[in-house]
Every structure is written in structure tokens, then in C-alpha cells.
């Protein structure tokens, strides 16, 4: 149990988004960062519900296309790899801003957002292909559980892209300083989480045969 003192609680309050650098808290971690961890753990159960539904309905397709009919594993592997790489560029972006290297930070951050966008583009392409092959939300339990699960994940990635581009825009206007690097770190936590969720979805939904 931490005995860390709080020399000034009022100061700790300012760390809602830590504007004045580090704040003294009982755990040593800032409120904002811990808050993001708690939020993400909540999100785990949210996705867990939809993944459970998908797995439950896997062998219960009454009519219409099955996963085997529509999946294009090589294509999805490529877009998954791109999303995975975006986590690497995110790490590089954070490291750059923590060093104060704003030029590289902007490049890596933009690359992260770009990779994310490519992934979303791939998902849109995949959805339209599946739809052409007769799989829709209402076609069967596979369509329902697949589209809702991956669609919600795509919405999370999209929100992440907007977040990253916002940070990138702030940096371009020189409004993001080394002291604010925690803002980037928190966005990074979210981004890595969305990535990890995709790795789970890709493994469980696409790769494991029934």
C-alpha cells in the first residue's frame, strides 16, 4: 500500500489531463492514465459479450453463407498485419515526443493514423465483398454476430484515428509540448487496446475453424 504523500491535493486535481506534468498521487500514476486503464478493462467485457455471441452461433447457421464461404484469409491477414504495425509506429511516436523530437513524432503519429485508415478501408472492402456474396446483417446468425462485432471494433478504430489526427493537428500548430506527452501516451494505450482486441477477433473469428 502506498504511503506516498499528497503535498498538495489541489495540484493533483489538475491532472485531469495532466497539464502541469506529473502529479503526486497515491500510486504514482496519474489519474488520467489509470482512468484509461479502468475504461479499457470495461471495454474488454463489452467486446467479450459480442465475441461470446459469435462463438455460440458459429455452428448454428440455418441458411446462407458460412464463414468458410466468404472469408478471404490472405487479404484479412494483410490488413491485420498493417494494424499490428500501427502499434509499432505508435510506440515510436510516443518515444519521439518524450525525447522532444517533434518532427519524427508527427511522422510516426501520422503513419499510425494512416495504417489505421488502411485497415478501415480493408474492412469496408471486406464488408462489401461479403454483402455481394449474400451475407447481410439479417441473412443468418453468422452475418448478425460477425457484422455487429467487427463493425463495433471498426467504430473503435475510427474513433482512434480521429483522436490521433487531432493530436497530430495540435502538434502541427505547436500546441503539443513535451510536458503534454501523457496525452499521447493515453491515446496510445487506447490504440494498442484496439489492436489487441483485433488480434483476438482475428484469431478467434477468422482463424480457428469450427
Amino acid at each position: 500500500m502506498s504511503e506516498t504523500t499528497l503535498p498538495d491535493l489541489a495540484h493533483a486535481l489538475e491532472s485531469e489531463i495532466s497539464i502541469h506534468g506529473h502529479a503526486d498521487t497515491n500510486t504514482g500514476a496519474t489519474n488520467a492514465k489509470l482512468g484509461m486503464w479502468v475504461f479499457l478493462s470495461s471495454e474488454c467485457l463489452f467486446f467479450g459479450g459480442f465475441i461470446a455471441a459469435y462463438l455460440l452461433y458459429k455452428g448454428r447457421i440455418v441458411s446462407g453463407p458460412t464463414p468458410h464461404d466468404v472469408y478471404n484469409i490472405p487479404f484479412t491477414s494483410v490488413t491485420s498485419f498493417i494494424l499490428l504495425m500501427s502499434s509499432l509506429t505508435m510506440v515510436l511516436a510516443l518515444a519521439s515526443i518524450q525525447r522532444g523530437d517533434h518532427r519524427r513524432f508527427r511522422i510516426w503519429l501520422f503513419a499510425t493514423a494512416l495504417f489505421g485508415t488502411v485497415f478501415i478501408g480493408g474492412q469496408i472492402y471486406e464488408f462489401t465483398e461479403f454483402y455481394r456474396e449474400g451475407l447481410s446483417l439479417s441473412e443468418n446468425v453468422f452475418g448478425s454476430s460477425f457484422f455487429v462485432l467487427t463493425g463495433l471494433h471498426g467504430a473503435h478504430v475510427t474513433a482512434g484515428i480521429i483522436w490521433l489526427l487531432t493530436l497530430w493537428g495540435m502538434s502541427m500548430q505547436n500546441k503539443l509540448h513535451v510536458q503534454n506527452s501523457e496525452r499521447v501516451e493515453i491515446a496510445g494505450l487506447y490504440w494498442h487496446f484496439v489492436d489487441v482486441v483485433w488480434i483476438v477477433i482475428f484469431t478467434v473469428v477468422y482463424l480457428i475453424p469450427k
Binding site: A29, V38, S42, I61, L137, L152
Partner: protein
């Protein structure tokens, strides 16, 4: 150490760029719209929840009028469906949870020695979402159907498309979207409490020195954060099935309506603890003060609370014994349910041990706390009978179940809440509640409650089904039902006495001292009502029940003696009110309200499938979020 020391003379500041002028008012009507003060937000939560409590009570009385005699004709069947759905939904989401958040909001920072919660603006956001979510649910009455599929909203009843005719009207749409929205608010307040408790304790306030109420709220906050997303996922599936023809719960397509029940009760059982643990916390604060003894077995109470928090995740299917889960699952969940009774029973003995041999003062808070123990024990015992599967199969969907959970939630939570009102009212409002009226409230409530809910055990065992709007006269249920209805009105009377008490004492009540009950925890060491800055000096905590130890010591024979008021320890036991204008506090903000305003717009867009509403909704949301992110938590001065 005491305040942030700022240079007073600074160059005239350039006004910070912001779309809306930063609100500065901390008093007056408008300040209640922009406040980020945890105490004001707590009062907002409490007052709003009390209004919903009265509404839910009126709904219950209408239900009881309909059932007072056989072949009742006060309500139609569909009105009855709407009323029991809204009574349950309101009591759980708009009364029970928000009242717990009200107490948590007010007390957590005070009991751990902090000046506010971790995220003050997110706190206000949570309140607005609660208010607008509640109004949205109730707007269904005027906009094509209030929710009518039960507070549990079982599929496929709720998930069949509107034109299938299962549930006419838009009731299930208002219900699913409204609950998703309320869930967002609950998760934010849970998250806020978690971070506040683990990160913002005063120096010396170690985890094992925290008041039990704070401990219970920590468990509750974790449960909220993890339980709400389960039901959110289920609700999204229901909404998609109903509006976008997905097949999640369509059996003909291979969908499984029971998946909904699993997800719902995976939320629903932890939800029971979300509702009852705050009550356990409140009672654990009241008992030691009015028995003038430290809490018996503090660490046992804390750890059994944590144990309940974990075990609560492994018992959800006891709500589904009648659905045919198979013998293995049924046995496992039956066993787990029996197991979870152990930490609960341990707590009851701890509370009894606290009162045992104490010099008991039977003031109103203590009466409610003792009432809580007795009523909650009865509810726990009938709960254990549900763990016995053959008995449960007999009891399922009868009034026995209604009796059980009202003993737990009304006999438990509501009694604790009214005890909490009586106990902390002087601290929050600076006025003592009238003791005589408080006792009348208690006795009316105790008698009315038992008249209402005890006979329901018998009615249930005699086979009266719940959620059924009428019954024939030859069933032998007539007299007990009349008794139940009379009991319901006695409860209403007790609440009325409480409200009169509030009004009368607000107008001309006795002014409350800092420490009217000779209490033990930090909130009593500061003025009543609590100043905006809470603590003029951040407290240095040296012991559990720190404030008590500042006031009392032992003589050489181990007897309790009051410290002389000029001793070094006693000095500063009770803080003076200071002019706290130089204490740095988070600044008020418009943006929690702005962000929240976008949510009902999007909710109506979803219910009415009106894409035109999406645009203003998203714009409000985005504008609010960006402006919020740019705005600093605390304005420099």
C-alpha cells in the same frame, strides 16, 4: 502545505481561448448547471433520485390498487405491464444506483481527506447523463409507448420487431436505448470513484484505514465498471434484432434467446451487489457511532465485501434455474450461490458484534441501521432457499421472489439510505432533522414494509404469479393481497413524513454543530455544511477512525477519556471555517452539459430511425468533447 502558493502579482493575463466564456459563479441557480463540486453534484444526484423514488412509489401504489382485490379494474393489462416495468427500471437505475452515487460522491472525498474526486467534470457529466437518461425513458409515455417488457426485458419478447406485435409500440426501443445511455453515466461515475479512492487519499490514509463505506464503494465501483458493459452488449443486440432484423435471438435462425438471459444476469447479479454494498457501507458507518464502539472485525468486513465482489460473478445462472440449464450447470451455480451467503452472513455477525455490549443510542440513524440488519437477514434467508434448485423451481415467477428481492433491496438498501439521510443530513445541509418525525418515519416504514412484503412469501408459495395484472376470487389470495396493499400505503405515509420533516427543518430546524453524533470519521472534523474546499488543511491521518482518536484517549486503566480541549492532539480536531478563496479548486464548466445534450438527440434518432437527428447530435457531442479537452481542469488565477 495548506494551499497552493501562487504569486499574487502577475502580468495581466491574456484571456484563454475558449468558445464559451468560462463560468465563474459558485453560488446561485446557474452555478448548479456548471458546478464540478462533488458535494453539489451529490445533492443533485440525491434530489433527482428522490423525485424518481416518489414516481416509482406512485407506480407501485397503482399496481397495489389494481391487486387489492380479485378481478381489479383500476388498470388495463397493458397499463399494468408498463407500470411494473417502469417501477422496476426506475427503482434500479434511477433510484438505487443514483442514490448510492449521491452518497459516494458526497462522502468518498471527505472520508479519504480529498478536496474533490479525480475527474470533477466527468462527475458532472455522469449526473447529466443520469438526468437526461431518466427523462428520456419517461418521455416514452408521451412518444409512442413507455417500456413495457419488464425491467429484465427478456428476449424474444423485447427483441421481436415492432410489426411482429409482441410488444406494441416503441416501449422496448426507449428501454434499450435509455438503459445504454444510463450505463454510460454509471461507468463514468464508477471509474471516477475507483481512481479517486486508489489515487487521492490524504497522507496516512492507507487502504486499511479507510472507512468501510469507502471500501464498499470501491467494490461497487469496480462491479459497475465491469457489469454494465455486459448488459450494454446485450441491449445492443436487442436493438439490432428489433430494428435491423439481425438474428441474435431468433430461434428459427439458430439464435438463442437464452444468450440474452446469460448476458443480462451476468450484469444483473453483480448489480444486486452494486445496490446492496453501499447500504452495507452506510450501516457500517452508523453502527459504531451509535454503539460507541469501533466496528467489530473491520478487516473481516472489508475482505468479505471483496469476496462478495468476486463471488458475485459466479452465481448469475441462479436466475435461470427454470430454463433447463442441465444438471451440471445447475449444481455448480446452486453451490456457488450457497457459498456467497457465507461472506454475507459473516458481515451480519460483525454488525451484531459491533452493537453487542455497546452503549447503544437509539437515534433515527441507528433505528434504520438495526432495521436494515433484521430485514436484510430475512431477505438473505429467503435468498438461500432460491439456491436450493427444487425449491427455486417451485418459487420461480411467483410472489415469493418479489418478497425476497424487496427484503434485500427495500429492507436492505432503502432502509440504509434513510438511515444515511438521517445520519449525514446535518453535515450536508447544516440543519438537524427532527428526531421525533424521524422515528415516526422509521416505525411506519418498518410496519408498512413488513405488512407489504411478508405476506408475499405466502402468496407466492400459494402460487400467485408475478407480472400478472389480475387474479380470480376463488384462489384464496384475497385477504393477503388487501393486507399487502394497505402496507404499501403505510410505506407511502412514512415517506411523506420524511419529506415533511425535510421541509419543516429546512425552514426552521435546529442548526447542526460540526459533530452532532460524536462520530469517528474525517467528514465530522470539518464545518457543517461542508465548505467548498472541504479541508482547509489536508489532514494527516494517523489511525483508522482518525477523528475519534483526535478526540479521545485511554486513561491508565484503559477507560475512554476525552482529551483535554487544550491538548496538542485535540487542537484542530474540529477545523475552523476559513476564507478559502486562495485554495485552488477545479473550475466550473459548461461542457459536461453540452456533451450530454448530444446524447438524447442521438437516442431519439435511434428510436425513431431519424437520420436527420444524427447530425446535430454528433455535432453537439464533438463540439462538447473538443471544447472539454481544450479547457483546463482548473483555471489559473
Amino acid at each position: 502545505m495548506t494551499t497552493t502558493i501562487e504569486k499574487v502579482i502577475v502580468a495581466p493575463e491574456e484571456p484563454r481561448q475558449s468558445v464559451l466564456r468560462r463560468p465563474k459563479e459558485t453560488t446561485g441557480v446557474w452555478s448548479w448547471f456548471t458546478t464540478v463540486d462533488h458535494k453539489k453534484i451529490a445533492i443533485l444526484y440525491g434530489a433527482t433520485a428522490l423525485i424518481f423514488f416518489v414516481i416509482a412509489g406512485i407506480e407501485a401504489l397503482l399496481i397495489r390498487l389494481q391487486l387489492a382485490g380479485p378481478n381489479g379494474s383500476v388498470l388495463t393489462a397493458s397499463q399494468y405491464n408498463t407500470l411494473f416495468t417502469m417501477h422496476g427500471t426506475t427503482m434500479v437505475f434511477l433510484v438505487g444506483m443514483p442514490l448510492a452515487v449521491a452518497f459516494g460522491n458526497y462522502l468518498i472525498p471527505l472520508q479519504i481527506g480529498a478536496r474533490d474526486v479525480a475527474f470533477p467534470r466527468l462527475n458532472m457529466f455522469g449526473f447529466w447523463v443520469f438526468l437526461f437518461g431518466g427523462l428520456f425513458l419517461y418521455s416514452g409515455f408521451f412518444l409512442g409507448g413507455a417500456p413495457n417488457g419488464g425491467w429484465f426485458g427478456y428476449t424474444p419478447l423485447t427483441s421481436a420487431p415492432m410489426d411482429a406485435g409482441f410488444l406494441p409500440g416503441r416501449g422496448p426501443d426507449f428501454w434499450t436505448i435509455g438503459l445504454i445511455m444510463l450505463g454510460v453515466g454509471s461507468v463514468t461515475s464508477g471509474l471516477n470513484f475507483v481512481i479517486t479512492i486508489i489515487n487521492m487519499r490524504a497522507p496516512g490514509m492507507t487502504l486499511m484505514r479507510m472507512p468501510v463505506f469507502v471500501w464498499m464503494m470501491l467494490v461497487v465501483a469496480f462491479l459497475t465498471v465491469f457489469a454494465i458493459p455486459c448488459v450494454t452488449a446485450a441491449l445492443i443486440m436487442v436493438f439490432f434484432d428489433r430494428n435491423f432484423s439481425t438474428n441474435f435471438f431468433v430461434a428459427a435462425q439458430g439464435g438463442d434467446p437464452l444468450l440474452y438471459q446469460h448476458l443480462f444476469w451476468l450484469f444483473g447479479h453483480p448489480e444486486v451487489y452494486i445496490l446492496i454494498l453501499p447500504g452495507m457501507g452506510i450501516v457500517s458507518e452508523i453502527l459504531p457511532v451509535f454503539a460507541r464502539k469501533p466496528l467489530f472485525g473491520y478487516s473481516v468486513i472489508v475482505f468479505s465485501g471483496i469476496a462478495i465482489g468476486f463471488l458475485g460473478w459466479g452465481v448469475w445462472a441462479h436466475h435461470m434455474f427454470a430454463t433447463g440449464l442441465g444438471p451440471v450447470a445447475v449444481s455448480a451455480f446452486s453451490l456457488a450461490t450457497l457459498l456467497i451467503a457465507i461472506p454475507t452472513g459473516v458481515k451480519i455477525f460483525n454488525w451484531l458484534g459491533t452493537v453487542w455490549g455497546g452503549s447503544v443510542r437509539l437515534k433515527t440513524p441507528m433505528l434504520f441501521a438495526l432495521g436494515f440488519i433484521a430485514m436484510f437477514t430475512l431477505g438473505g434467508l429467503s435468498g438461500v432457499t432460491h439456491a436450493i434448485v427444487p425449491a427455486d423451481t417451485q418459487q420461480t415467477d411467483t410472489y415469493y421472489v418479489v418478497a425476497h428481492f424487496h427484503y434485500v433491496l427495500f429492507g436492505g438498501l432503502v432502509f440504509a439510505i434513510f438511515g444515511g439521510f438521517a445520519y449525514w443530513w446535518p453535515k450536508v445541509f447544516g440543519k438537524m432533522l427532527n428526531e421525533k418525525m424521524g422515528k415516526i418515519t422509521f416505525w411506519f416504514m418498518l410496519i408498512g414494509f413488513n405488512m407489504t412484503f411478508f405476506p408475499m412469501h405466502f402468496l407466492g408459495l400459494q402460487g400467485q404469479p408475478r407480472r400478472t395484472y389480475t387474479y380470480a376470487s376463488n384462489m384464496g389470495w384475497d385477504k393477503l393481497n388487501l393486507l399487502v396493499t394497505v402496507g404499501g400505503f403505510i410505506i407511502a405515509l412514512s415517506v411523506a413524513v420524511f419529506l415533511v420533516n425535510v421541509i419543516v427543518t429546512t425552514v426552521k430546524g435546529e442548526v447542526a454543530p460540526e459533530d452532532p453524533w460524536d462520530a469517528r470519521t474525517l467528514e465530522w472534523s470539518i464545518p457543517s455544511p461542508v465548505p467548498e474546499y472541504n479541508f482547509a488543511k489536508v489532514p494527516q491521518v494517523k489511525a483508522r477512525d482518525d477523528f475519534w482518536h483526535r478526540k479521545y484517549t485511554e486513561d491508565d486503566q484503559g477507560r475512554l477519556v476525552l482529551r483535554p480541549s487544550d491538548s496538542a492532539d485535540y487542537k484542530g480536531a474540529v477545523e475552523e471555517r476559513v476564507d478559502g478563496h486562495d485554495i485552488h479548486l477545479p473550475s466550473p464548466s459548461y461542457y459536461p452539459l453540452v456533451v450530454t445534450l448530444g446524447m438524447p438527440v442521438l437516442a431519439y434518432a435511434a428510436v425513431f430511425k431519424e437520420p436527420l437527428l444524427v447530425i446535430p447530435g454528433v455535432l453537439l457531442l464533438l463540439f462538447g468533447i473538443y471544447a472539454w479537452a481544450i479547457e483546463p481542469g482548473t483555471e489559473e488565477h
